[in-house]
């Protein structure tokens, strides 16, 4: 920035820079949602709340298990994220686990599966 730049000029330059940044972020988001559907911080907070309280009513608030089994990472040895995701979406027949596909999206389920699998619950 030159010393002689007028405040007006500066403001325009700034606006342009900000606009570019905003557009870039929007574009990135659009691309992301088409590819891996990023979960926003707000949605993540909603999902963790749901996990703790609504899933927690069967699996325990600390997810150590209740009527439903424990959801702590050690329970998922030998299973993968896809398995957890499918269980969330479609439930398990013959058990009390319902299908959640009418409540949350596939991407939501995948996010929860990753969250459980990675053991973030203990962090």
């Amino acid at each position: 920035m030159s010393k002689t730049a007028s405040p007006k000029k500066l403001a325009i330059q700034l606006t342009v820079v900000i606009a570019i940044i905003v557009l870039a972020v929007i574009a990135k988001r659009a691309v992301a949602s088409e590819t891996d559907g990023e979960i926003s911080a707000d949605r993540a907070a909603e999902l963790t709340h749901m996990l703790k309280h609504d899933c927690g009513s069967c699996h325990g608030m600390t997810l150590k298990g209740g009527l439903g089994p424990s959801l702590l990472p050690e329970e998922f040895k030998g299973k993968n994220i896809e398995y957890i995701k499918l269980t969330i979406l479609h439930g398990r027949s013959g058990t009390a686990m319902p299908p959640w596909k009418s409540i949350i999206s596939e991407r939501d389920a995948e996010w929860i599966a990753e969250y459980l699998y990675s053991g973030q619950i203990n962090k």
């Binding site: 709340h49 703790k52 309280h53 609504d54 927690g56 009513s57 069967c58 325990g60 608030m61 600390t62 150590k64 298990g65 209740g66 009527l67 439930g91 009390a96 319902p98 299908p99 959640w100 009418s102 409540i103």
Partner: protein
């Protein structure tokens, strides 16, 4: 408000002491026992914090808070006969005896890995806890919380293997009995403690009723303690046991309910706490349907179903039995509905807020306290006008329990 009451109480105590002192000719060595009554007290579980708030139903106020009770997701409370102690059953197997008058923890034990609820015996001397991990039921001395009896819920599965089952629907019954059901074992057991003492070598007499129905998930007992009814998750219908005649076994009632209809996903199991009875009819939640079922208690047949807003969780009768109040499972859990017990018509719909988990009527039912978990609020309504009178702050409130439960069978 509470501080004013404390002042009043102190003044009353002082006056009483002074008048006694005067009566006794100023005899300074005489002490007079002072009592504070607890008939209008209650507790609210604050599930996220492992805390219990002590409340006063006459003042509609919080009087105190007890912390450090562990994982209280899905916790419940029973009261000692003198209404001084609240026994808190935590999800993590914690059993805590809370003194609600002195507002402290009198005793606490970790009795299992994972538990679901409990009951207090007819004579108030035993506390039974229903466990998921390792399963079975444990019974404790109400005074000391020392173990009196351990009842593993061992059953034989379809492959002939011996397994331990999660236990559900634990209630106290007349004749110093506890009754509970085996979720995986499909059985109902009656544990009779009338001849058992806490002395070593004595054990309860256990009566096992096999094949009561698939996956009993909870149960209720009629207010007179005669009928035990287990809800079944694994099939349609309910299992009925006449505790006057356990030798007759259990009877499957309402077996044809919902035949041929696909059940909705169940995002929260209904609760069969209490017993919604009006006249000869009992009202029970349908599993996986937006309906409350009406059962004729003479013939034990279904005489109607009432369409409601969502899948019912609690179906409770107002203490005068003229109305049935219902709350609902996730994701439709922002609503309460009232049913006219005479006409079976839907009478009123209220929207207390996000995640309405539980309701508790004042002892004679003029008001109801409703916990709204996701708004960190307990709302108090007039049960005749449905007007909200006031609301109280509580962190992630779930179960609400008033001391009037101390003298009711099955609560």
């Amino acid at each position: 408000m509470p501080s004013q009451n404390k002042l009043k109480l102190k003044a009353a105590i002082l006056t009483t002491t002074l008048s006694f002192a005067t009566l006794l000719g100023g005899c300074a060595s005489t002490t007079v026992t002072q009592y504070k009554a607890s008939g209008d007290l209650g507790t609210i579980i604050e599930r996220a914090d492992g805390a219990v708030s002590i409340v006063n139903t006459s003042d509609r106020a919080v009087e105190g808070r007890i912390e450090g009770l562990g994982d209280l997701s899905h916790a419940s409370i029973v009261y000692s006969r003198d209404e001084q102690y609240a026994y808190v059953f935590g999800r993590d197997g914690g059993l805590t005896k809370v003194d609600i008058l002195n507002q402290n923890i009198a005793k606490r034990v970790l009795q299992a890995g994972n538990s679901i609820g409990g009951a207090i015996s007819q004579d108030g001397k035993l506390i039974a806890v229903s466990n998921y991990t390792p399963g079975g039921v444990k019974v404790f001395d109400a005074e000391t919380l020392e173990l009196v009896a351990d009842i593993p819920a061992i059953y034989t599965d379809e492959n002939g293997e011996q397994k331990q089952s999660k236990t559900v629907g634990l209630v106290d019954a007349p004749g110093q009995r506890f009754v509970f059901s085996l979720f995986e074992g499909n059985e109902t057991w009656i544990a009779d403690f009338s001849d058992a003492s806490s002395a070593e070598g004595t054990a309860p007499k256990i009566t096992k009723l096999k094949s009561v129905g698939k996956q009993p998930y909870d149960a209720l007992i009629s207010p007179d303690g005669r009928y035990y009814i287990a809800g079944l998750f694994g099939q349609d219908g309910l299992a009925l046991i006449d505790l006057w005649h356990p030798e007759k076994g259990s009877k499957l009632i309402l077996p044809d309910y919902g035949k041929g209809q696909e059940r909705l996903p169940v995002y929260k199991m209904p609760h069969l706490e209490g017993w919604a009875v009006a006249g000869n009819y009992a009202f029970v939640p349908a599993v996986g349907r937006h309906e409350v079922l009406v059962v004729d208690m003479n013939s034990w047949t279904q005489v109607g179903e009432i369409p409601v807003y969502g899948q019912p969780v609690f179906v409770m009768s107002r203490p005068d039995a003229r109305e049935i109040w219902v709350n609902f499972a996730f994701p439709k859990n922002d609503t309460l509905q009232m049913i006219d017990a005479e006409s079976f018509e839907l009478k009123k719909t209220l929207k207390p807020g996000k995640a309405v988990l539980h309701m508790e009527f004042t002892p004679r039912g003029e008001e109801v306290w409703v916990s709204v978990r996701d708004e960190d609020t307990v709302r108090i309504y007039n049960t005749t006008t449905y007007e909200e009178i006031t609301s109280l702050k509580a962190l992630k409130p779930s179960g609400i329990f008033f001391t009037s439960r101390a003298h009711r069978i099955g609560l």
